[in-house]
C-alpha cells in the first residue's frame, strides 16, 4: 500500500477527475466529508499515510489480491467476473414489488437477510426529501423499503459504513455500485484500523452500473422538477431514450441526450460493469424482461441467501436466455475495452494503467477478447 493521505488523494484522484464520489474516504475521520456532490476537505491532515487514500477505489487496486481475498482464486480476464449462477429473478413480496426498481430482487434479498439474522443492518443509499443520496444504515424492513429505488446520482453510501464504530459488533450488509464494492473489497483485503470492523461485513450486493450522473445533474433536475414530489427515477432500457421522473400521479421525462453531459467522467475509468467482487450482483432484466432482474451469484454466501429467499417464497426465478447473457457479456467487455483504451490513451503507456493493478498480460488479454 502506498504511503499517501488526504492531500495526495485530492491530487491523485479528485483533481485528475478519477473520483467516483463513492464516499469511501468520507466520515471515517473528521477531515473528509461528502457534501453537495463533492468530497470536501474540512481541515488539514498531516498524516503521511491515510486510509482515505488506501481504500479509495481509484488509488492503486491490486485486482489479483482482492480476487484472492474474496474468491480464493486469482483475477482473470472475463467480462462479468466470477459466476456461480446467473438467472432472472423478481420479488414475490407485493410491498417490495411496488417500491422496487425492476424486479425488487435487491430489497427482497436484504429483507430476507435481515429477517433471517444473517445481517443486522444494511449500508444503503437513502435519498432525502430533495432526493439527494446519502449513506444510511437500514436496520428494519421499513427502513429498507424507504431506501428502495435507484438514484442515478453518485451516492456516498460508504460514509455510513465509515461512521460505524470500530467496536460495533453489528453484522452488516451493503448494497453498492461497482466502485462501492471495490472499496469494500479493498477493506476486506487490508482490514482497516480504528474504523469499522470489516469482518462484520457479511453480505455484499453489487448493482450493475454504466455510469452515474454528477457535477450539476442535481441542479439540472431541481430546475426542472419538484424533487420533493418525485418518488422514482428510471432510465428504461432500449428502445426508450429517456430519463423518467415519477411522481404519485404522473411521469415526466427528459431526453437521455440532454443529460449525457452530466455523466461522471470518472466512470469512464471504470473496468467493472457488474460489481465483480460482490456476493451477488444484480441488474435490470433489460427490455426483454421488464419487471425482472438479472442476478449473478458469485459466492457461497450469495448462493445460501438465494436458496433461503427461494425457500421462503420471497423470490421467484427463471433461467436467463443465452442471448441475454451474451448481450450482458458484450456490454461489460465493451466497457472494459473502452476504459483500458481510455486509460492507455491518457497515460500513453500500457504499463501504466493509473489505479488499476492489472498485469500487462491480463490487460492485453482483455483488449484482445472478441466481443
Amino acid at each position: 500500500m502506498e504511503g499517501k493521505a488526504s492531500k495526495e488523494l485530492f491530487k491523485d484522484v479528485m483533481d485528475t477527475g478519477l473520483c467516483t464520489l463513492c464516499g469511501g474516504c468520507t466520515d471515517g475521520c473528521p477531515y473528509l466529508v461528502f457534501y453537495n456532490g463533492r468530497i470536501v476537505r474540512l481541515h488539514q491532515c498531516t498524516l503521511s499515510e491515510g486510509q482515505c487514500y488506501q481504500y479509495c477505489p481509484r488509488t492503486y487496486t491490486d485486482l489479483n489480491a482482492i480476487s484472492q481475498q474474496v474468491f480464493g482464486v486469482p483475477y482473470e480476464e472475463s467480462e462479468i467476473g466470477i459466476v456461480r449462477e446467473i438467472f432472472l429473478a423478481r420479488s414475490l413480496d407485493a410491498e417490495i414489488q411496488e417500491k422496487g426498481q425492476d424486479g425488487g430482487t435487491v430489497t427482497t434479498l436484504l429483507s430476507v437477510a435481515l429477517a433471517e439474522g444473517i445481517i443486522d443492518g444494511v449500508v444503503e443509499t437513502k435519498m432525502d426529501d430533495d432526493k439527494i443520496p446519502h449513506g444510511f444504515i437500514a436496520r428494519k424492513r421499513k427502513e429498507l423499503l424507504a431506501c428502495a429505488g435507484v438514484s442515478y446520482e453518485p451516492s456516498p453510501v460508504l460514509e455510513a459504513l465509515n461512521r460505524l464504530s470500530k467496536d460495533s459488533t453489528e453484522k452488516v450488509g451493503i448494497v453498492g455500485l461497482p466502485c462501492h464494492v471495490a472499496c469494500v473489497s479493498k477493506m476486506k483485503t487490508y482490514p482497516p484500523e480504528n474504523r469499522v470492523n470489516i469482518g462484520n461485513m457479511k453480505l455484499v450486493i453489487g448493482l450493475f452500473c454504466g455510469w452515474t450522473l454528477a457535477h450539476g445533474f442535481h441542479q439540472f433536475l431541481q430546475e426542472r422538477f419538484d424533487l420533493s414530489q418525485a418518488i422514482k427515477f428510471d432510465i428504461p432500457h432500449h428502445p426508450a431514450h429517456t430519463f423518467d421522473v415519477y411522481t404519485k400521479s404522473d411521469k415526466r421525462s427528459v431526453e437521455l441526450d440532454e443529460i449525457k453531459q452530466y455523466i461522471n467522467k470518472a466512470c469512464t475509468y471504470c473496468l467493472d460493469m457488474t460489481a465483480e467482487f460482490a456476493d451477488i450482483s444484480v441488474g435490470s432484466g433489460r427490455a426483454m424482461f421488464r419487471g425482472w432482474n438479472t442476478v449473478i451469484v458469485r459466492t457461497k454466501v450469495g448462493t445460501e441467501l438465494m436458496e433461503i429467499a427461494k425457500a421462503n417464497h420471497a423470490l421467484e426465478t427463471q433461467p436467463i436466455p443465452i442471448e441475454s447473457i451474451e448481450n450482458l457479456r458484450h456490454a461489460a467487455l465493451n466497457k472494459k475495452k473502452k476504459t483500458l483504451n481510455h486509460i492507455i490513451a491518457k497515460t500513453g503507456d500500457i504499463e501504466d494503467l493509473l489505479y488499476l493493478g492489472l498485469s500487462r498480460h491480463l490487460a492485453d488479454k482483455l483488449l484482445g477478447m472478441r466481443n
Partner: protein, 650 residues
C-alpha cells in the same frame, strides 16, 4: 482598583499611569468623563466610572470614540470640565469632529487623553498620534512618570481653558500600565453648574460661535485659531514639565519626551556619562518650546532624539534648526532618521543605551552579555519555556463560531472568505480561528469591506463573503456598513459574534448588555431588533450547536443572496465563569477511545481545535484535559470523532 478618589492631599499613592491620569482629572474638578474601551487606555474610565456617582461626576462608556468625544465636548460647551480617553485608533475616529471643534474653540477645560501602543502589542497597528496635534494646532503634553500623568492632566485643564481649545495628553502603554508613586493634591469642592450660554437672542440674533463656517467663514476661524495658538507657545515655554539635566557643556544632548526620558536617565547613568551627556526633557512637545530648546542647543554639537514611536520631536526640532539664523552653527542630529535609534516599536533601556553608545562611539556590552555562563543559562531556560501562542480562551464561543464558519466555507466550496473586525474575533485571523479572517483593518471595517466585495458580481466574483464582528464592534462602527449593504443591495453575510461583552479590553459593558459604566441598568439595545428594523433577514444561533450553526450558514449562503445577518450568540465564558463560579461540565478523556495521532483522528482536538484546556500527552499518545485550564464548556465532546471526550455534569 486604587482608591483614586481619596481626599488625602500631600500623601503618596501607588497608582497606574492611567489611574494617575484619572486622579489628575479629579483634581482638576471634572464633571464629565467619557471613553470607549481600548488597550492601553481602558483603566482611565475603568477607575473613574465606579466612583463617578460618589464624586458627582457623569461617566459613560460610549458607543464609540467619536460619540464619546462629542459628548465630552458638549459638557465643555456647557461650562463643565470634561475628559475623554481612548486608544490611538480612537483619535482616527474622532478626527473629523476634532478638526471642526478646533475651529470654534471650547467652553470649560476639555482634555483628550490618548494612550498610544508602541509595538502595537494590543492593537491592530502601531500608530503615533502626536502628529495630529501638530496638524490641528492642539497643545500636546507628554507625561514621563505616574506623577506627571496626574500633574500634567490637571494642568492640561487649566491650559485648555486658558487657550479656549482642547488639550491632548499622550501616554504610552508602558507608562499607562506601570505603577508609580503619586503625591496627591487636594480635590476641589466647588459646585458645578451646567448651562449652554450661546443661545438664540431675540434682540441680538447671530450665528453661534460653536458652529463652523457659514457667516464665520472657515478661513476667518483658521486665523482665529492661529492667534489663539500663538498664546499656547508662550505657555509651553515656561512649563515646569520641560527640564534639563546634565553638564553645562555636553558632548551629547539627548532630547526626549514621555517614558523615554526615564530610559535616557538610566542609560546615561549605566554608561557613566553623566558629565558628558545632557538630557533635555520636553513635557510639552507641541507647540515646540523653541526658546527653551534654543538655550540648550548651544551646549552641544551633537543631538540625539529618543522618543516613541515616530520621529515627531526630531522633525520638529529639525525644522526649528533649519530656521536658525545663517551665522549660527548647526548641531549634528542623530535619531530615527540617521538610523541611530530604532524607528519602530517600543524603546527600552537596552535600546537607548545602544543608541547613546553608537553616537558616542563607545563599545557597550551589557553585564549579561559579557558573561558567557549567564548567556548559556538564558539559552537553556528559554528552551524550557512553553510556547504560548495567542489563542481564544478555553470555553470561548468564538472558537465554536469560527469552527462553524470554517466548516461552512469548506463545505460551500466557492472559495468564500471572512472579512474581520477588531476585538476578540480578530483571533480568527490566526490559528485558533483557523486563519479564516482574510482581511482585518479597523472598527467596522469588516462589514464595510464586505459590502464592497458583495458588489463585484458583475466582474465574475462568486465568492461568498462573511463579515465577522463582535457585539461591541457592531454598535461602534458596523451599523453604517450594514445599512450600506442593505440599501445598495450588496451580497454578504454579517456574522455578529455576540458574547455579551467587550471582552478583549476587559468586559466593559455596551448597549447590548444594558448595563452602564457605573454599573446601573440602562436601556438594552437589541441587535436583532435593530437589524430587523432595517429590513434584513436575521438568524440567531448558538455557536455551541455547531451543526445547526453550520447548517444555518450554509442555508443562507446557498439562498437568495443580498445582505443577511446571523447573530451567533453565547455569553463570553469568562463573564459566565465569574458569575457562576463553577464549570458547566466536568470533562475527561476516555483513553481507550482516544486514538491520538492515528488515522481517523490525527489529534483533531489538540492540533486543529486547539482549546488550551486540551493537552497532548506525548508520552502516552493521547489527549487529556488540563483540568486547571479547562472551562468545562463541553464543546470538545462534540468535536471528538471517537467520542473519547466525555462531558459529565459538574
Amino acid at each position: 482598583m486604587a482608591d483614586i478618589e481619596i481626599d488625602a492631599p500631600e500623601t503618596n499613592r501607588l497608582l497606574l499611569g492611567n489611574e494617575a491620569i484619572a486622579r489628575g482629572a479629579l483634581e482638576a474638578g471634572i464633571g464629565f468623563a467619557t471613553a470607549y474601551p481600548g488597550t492601553p487606555s481602558s483603566e482611565i474610565m475603568g477607575s473613574l466610572a465606579p466612583i463617578a456617582k460618589k464624586m458627582g461626576i457623569y461617566a459613560e462608556w460610549s458607543v464609540n470614540e467619536m460619540v464619546a468625544f462629542e459628548a465630552a465636548a458638549a459638557a465643555s460647551l456647557a461650562n463643565i470640565r470634561s475628559i475623554s480617553s481612548m486608544k490611538a485608533n480612537g483619535v482616527n475616529v474622532i478626527s473629523d469632529f476634532l478638526i471642526n471643534l478646533q475651529m470654534t474653540g471650547i467652553g470649560k477645560g476639555l482634555v483628550l487623553v490618548v494612550c498610544d501602543d508602541p509595538g502595537g502589542m494590543a492593537s491592530s497597528n502601531e500608530q503615533d498620534t502626536r502628529p495630529i496635534a501638530k496638524w490641528l494646532n492642539i497643545p500636546l503634553l507628554e507625561p514621563s512618570t505616574a506623577q506627571e500623568c496626574k500633574d500634567m492632566t490637571k494642568w492640561a485643564f487649566d491650559l485648555s481653558e486658558e487657550l479656549g481649545m482642547v488639550c491632548m495628553v499622550r501616554s504610552v502603554i508602558y507608562l499607562s500600565h506601570t505603577r508609580g508613586n503619586v503625591r496627591l493634591d487636594k480635590l476641589p469642592k466647588k459646585k458645578k453648574e451646567a448651562y449652554f450660554a450661546d443661545i438664540y437672542d431675540l434682540d441680538n440674533p447671530r450665528q453661534s460661535k460653536f458652529t463652523c463656517g457659514m457667516q464665520f467663514h472657515s478661513y476667518k476661524q483658521s486665523e482665529e485659531l492661529l492667534k489663539k495658538f500663538s498664546k499656547a507657545s508662550e505657555k509651553c515655554e515656561s512649563s515646569p514639565f520641560n527640564c534639563y539635566r546634565g553638564p553645562d557643556k555636553a558632548k551629547l544632548l539627548i532630547i526626549t519626551s514621555g517614558i523615554c526620558w526615564t530610559y535616557s536617565i538610566e542609560a546615561v547613568k549605566i554608561l557613566n556619562l553623566q558629565d558628558k551627556v545632557g538630557i533635555l526633557k520636553l513635557g510639552v512637545t507641541w507647540p515646540l518650546p523653541e526658546e527653551f530648546i534654543r538655550k540648550y542647543l548651544e551646549r552641544s554639537q551633537k543631538i540625539l532624539f529618543v522618543e516613541e514611536i515616530a520621529p515627531f520631536v526630531e522633525r520638529s526640532v529639525m525644522e526649528f534648526v533649519a530656521n536658525l539664523p545663517p551665522d549660527r552653527s548647526r548641531p549634528a542630529l542623530y535619531g530615527k532618521r540617521s538610523g541611530h535609534v530604532r524607528a519602530w516599536g517600543e524603546q527600552s533601556l537596552d535600546l537607548v543605551i545602544q543608541s547613546i553608545a553608537s553616537v558616542m562611539g563607545i563599545l557597550y556590552q551589557s553585564r549579561q552579555s559579557r558573561s558567557a555562563e549567564y548567556s548559556q543559562k538564558v539559552r537553556e531556560i528559554s528552551q524550557t519555556l512553553p510556547n504560548r501562542p495567542l489563542t481564544f480562551c478555553p470555553g470561548c464561543p468564538h472558537r465554536a463560531s469560527f469552527w462553524a464558519i470554517k466548516n461552512t466555507l469548506q463545505l460551500d466550496g466557492r472559495n468564500g472568505f471572512v472579512t474581520g473586525d477588531i476585538g476578540c474575533t480578530a483571533m480568527g485571523m490566526i490559528s485558533p480561528g483557523s486563519f479564516q479572517v482574510r482581511t482585518y483593518y479597523a472598527m467596522g471595517g469588516g462589514v464595510g469591506i464586505a459590502s464592497g466585495f458583495g458588489h463585484l458580481g458583475q466582474f465574475g466574483f462568486t465568492q461568498p463573503v462573511i463579515a465577522v464582528c463582535g457585539d461591541s464592534t457592531f454598535f461602534h462602527a458596523s451599523i453604517p456598513g450594514l445599512i450600506n449593504g442593505i440599501w445598495n443591495q450588496s451580497n454578504f453575510i454579517l456574522a455578529i459574534l455576540d458574547n455579551d461583552a467587550t471582552a478583549m479590553t476587559g468586559f466593559q459593558p455596551h448597549p447590548g448588555t444594558g448595563v452602564k459604566a457605573t454599573g446601573e441598568l440602562g436601556e438594552k439595545v437589541s441587535i436583532e431588533a435593530l437589524c430587523r428594523s432595517l429590513g434584513v433577514n436575521v438568524e440567531v444561533c448558538d455557536p455551541f450547536d455547531i451543526k445547526k450553526t453550520t447548517a444555518t450558514l450554509l442555508k443562507i449562503m446557498a439562498g437568495v443572496g443580498g445582505t443577511q445577518v446571523v447573530i451567533m450568540r453565547r455569553e463570553c465564558e469568562l463573564v459566565r465563569a465569574r458569575r457562576d463560579r463553577k464549570k458547566s461540565y466536568q470533562m475527561y478523556v476516555e483513553p481507550n477511545r482516544c486514538i491520538g495521532e492515528a488515522c481517523g483522528c490525527n489529534r483533531l482536538c489538540t492540533r486543529i481545535f486547539s482549546c488550551p484546556g486540551l493537552v497532548w500527552d506525548r508520552e502516552v499518545g493521547k489527549a487529556k484535559i488540563d483540568d486547571a485550564v479547562c472551562a468545562g464548556c463541553g464543546l470538545c465532546a462534540d468535536i471528538c470523532p471517537q467520542g473519547a471526550i466525555i462531558r459529565e455534569a459538574a
